[in-house]
């Protein structure tokens, strides 16, 4: 068992508003091994992004973070700003959903790239420029020289995301957290970006956390998947096992709610109700109000993650057999 690169234990995040605390992340245990690709799936309110923003200390002051996040053993929660600034970009890099608004509109692309290079590789002037050109090449941007002098608004979303990826690579990080990196992009561009990320991972051995609400995006690009719901981790398994034999009713529901591009058209399983608002999660299992097989103890006791198979954990009181779906439908995948 390899030593994890990042280990999250019991992470909680509360946001303070008008004197009250509302819980966005409710006790997450997660580990990322060096070089592995982990996918995090969840809908709105699942806490999937907040988890990693908290790990890097990027949340606003009104966020209260508890628990532990260790990078190679080093504690990141409540770490002094100087330490976090050393980690960001150099050990853990992060790219976000809307690339065009993640670049500073008043500075040229070259300026922003060189800023990262100066910071992480301590190069300057002509060396930095040459390196910037090489990076833009590496991420597949044609006409790189001209692009260095362009402003973000002159580039399309796809190109801007490539620039963001290039900037993330300057520090040669051990882990790249990609938060919905392709959601705002067109399908054909999405495929290009995911392909690029895969190639970079192969070349550098970098680990990746891919956060998305799109199960398909996650399925094709990662080894292991974690499913989050209302601030908790509900299931975690290798990709094939999760999509082929999900054991948590929520995961099963998500899979059954997905229309497919191939295979017979069947009526979608619609999970009734809605995701609970942050801070208003029900007692017991947060999915219980919407779960078709919930029992009385589900309403009162929050379930802990249990092993239900090799490397497969699910947080459910019931032991759902592999192949059986709580939604009484044939297996969703394929």
């Amino acid at each position: 068992m390899t030593v994890p690169l990042v280990e999250i234990s019991g992470l909680t995040v509360d946001f303070e508003k008008d004197g009250r605390l509302s819980r966005a992340v409710d006790g997450i245990d997660l580990a990322v091994a060096p070089g592995e690709a982990l996918g995090i799936v969840g809908e709105s309110g699942s806490g999937k992004s907040v988890t990693w923003l908290a790990a890097l200390g990027l949340l606003p002051a009104r966020a209260r973070i508890g628990g532990s996040v260790r990078l190679d053993g080093q504690q990141l929660v409540a770490a002094p700003p100087r330490l976090l600034e050393e980690v960001r970009g150099k050990r853990i890099a992060m790219i976000f959903q809307d690339p065009s608004s993640c670049l500073n509109p008043v500075h040229r692309i070259g300026w922003q790239l060189v800023e990262a290079l100066k910071l992480h590789r301590r190069v300057d002037g002509a060396t930095a420029r040459a390196e910037a050109l090489r990076l833009l090449d590496q991420v597949g941007i044609a006409d790189a020289k001209r692009r260095l002098g362009d402003f973000p608004h002159q580039l399309s979303g796809g190109l801007n995301q490539r620039v963001m990826i290039a900037m993330a690579l300057t520090g040669q990080p051990d882990l790249l957290v990609a938060d919905e990196p392709t959601t705002a992009l067109d399908a054909t561009i999405q495929a290009q970006i995911l392909d690029l990320l895969g190639g970079i991972r192969r070349d550098t051995g970098m680990a990746m956390v891919l956060i998305s609400h799109d199960l398909g995006v996650v399925a094709e690009n990662v080894n292991r998947v974690a499913v989050m719901y209302a601030g908790r981790l509900v299931e975690e398994a290798p990709g094939k096992d999760l999509f082929g034999a999900a054991r948590h009713p929520y995961t099963q529901g998500l899979l059954a709610a997905l229309p497919t591009l191939t295979g017979p058209r069947r009526r979608l399983a619609a999970i009734p109700g809605t995701v609970p608002e942050p801070g208003k999660a029900p007692a017991g299992c947060s999915f219980a109000p919407r779960c078709p097989v919930a029992e009385s103890r589900c309403q009162s006791e929050p379930p802990l993650g249990r092993h239900v198979g090799l490397l497969h954990r699910a947080a459910c009181h019931l032991a759902i057999e592999p192949g059986f779906s709580a939604w009484n439908l044939p297996k969703a995948a394929e």
Binding site: L56, E85, R88, A93, L103, P105, E115, H153, Q154
Partner: protein, 309 residues
């Protein structure tokens, strides 16, 4: 760029022309200058002579055309009080006005902007709330109330500063503070909201995520963006450098353009009033023009390029 500048210059010229016309018409409609200057019980022949001398007996549109035509040659008429060219009277007073409005502007910018930035960076702290409270007080209080309060405290009670007049630089202190205080308040509030807006943008978080130190995020990422809306306000303040001190000059008996305007209006000294308005308009227009150019320099999105090129 040339097309841009040319159209702006044309617009500026039209604005000034419009202001001059407007002033011309309104002044003529508001009462008979002859009666005002000549005093009520002057003999009718004297009044008639006065009218003839100043061309007031001619039809309005003829007066207008003559005025505009003369304006092109630099002749903006003569003061009815002392016969001197109106434009000379005005330009004599401009330095005095600038002597208080320029330092006031420095105060507004030098005090207001740092206060606003600090408040934004320390949101909801005591310093923030204090700054905001003072700024509300600053801009809700009319300038003459503030002026009189300051006079009461510093001139009457403490006797540190003179109440009015312009004999030496120390006389300028109270006028400058009055003008500067409320402007600084507006500047602080505005800068704070501009900064807060920018700090909430995704690129700020992305810069932090890159590993950039917070100090640098503020100075190199946030401030250049917050400068853009701030420049509008500064532009407006520059525009009112000549016109903005009317009340303050009156309260402190400061011999600037504002005071001249007040007395010229009271006396229906048409040419002088028109000349002052024209100078103010020209100055405002020039300030706006400079702001427009500054925008282009500060915000690359305004320079007119499309995405995907």
């Amino acid at each position: 760029m040339l097309q841009f500048a040319a159209s702006r210059v044309l617009r500026a010229a039209l604005t000034i022309l419009f202001v001059m016309t407007f002033a011309f018409v309104v002044l003529r409609l508001s009462g008979d200058p002859a009666l005002l200057i000549m005093s009520v019980d002057a003999p009718p022949e004297a009044i008639k002579a006065f009218r003839q001398a100043w061309g007031l007996d001619q039809p309005i549109w003829e007066q207008y055309v003559s005025y505009i035509a003369h304006a092109f040659t630099g002749d903006f008429g003569k003061s009815m009080r002392d016969g001197r060219p109106a434009i000379d009277l005005v330009m004599e007073r401009v330095p005095a006005t600038l002597a208080i409005t320029l330092p006031a502007l420095a105060l507004k910018v030098g005090l207001g902007i740092p206060a606003g930035i600090y408040a934004a960076l320390h949101r909801n702290s005591l310093a923030d709330r204090l700054t905001m409270a003072m700024s509300v007080a600053g801009f809700t209080m009319p300038s003459f109330v503030l002026a009189l309060l300051l006079v009461l405290v510093f001139a009457v009670n403490l006797g540190w500063l003179p109440a009015s007049g312009a004999d030496s630089p120390i006389y300028a202190v109270l006028p400058i503070v009055t003008l500067g205080a409320s402007g600084a308040a507006i500047m602080a509030r505005f800068t704070r909201s501009a900064m807060l807006e920018v700090l909430g943008q995704p690129y700020i978080r992305a810069a932090s995520a890159k590993g950039v130190q917070w100090r640098r995020v503020v100075s190199h990422h946030a401030l250049p963006n917050a400068a853009i809306p701030t420049v509008t306000i500064i532009g407006f303040m520059i525009g009112s450098l000549v016109a903005g001190a009317v009340v303050v000059e009156s309260v402190f008996a400061w011999p600037g353009v504002g005071r001249l305007l007040v007395s010229a209006v009271a006396n229906r000294d048409l040419a002088v009033v028109q000349a002052i308005l024209m100078v103010i308009a020209a100055w405002m227009v020039a300030a706006n023009f400079t702001v427009d150019m500054a925008y282009g320099w500060l915000d690359p999105r305004v320079r007119g390029t499309a995405a995907g090129h």
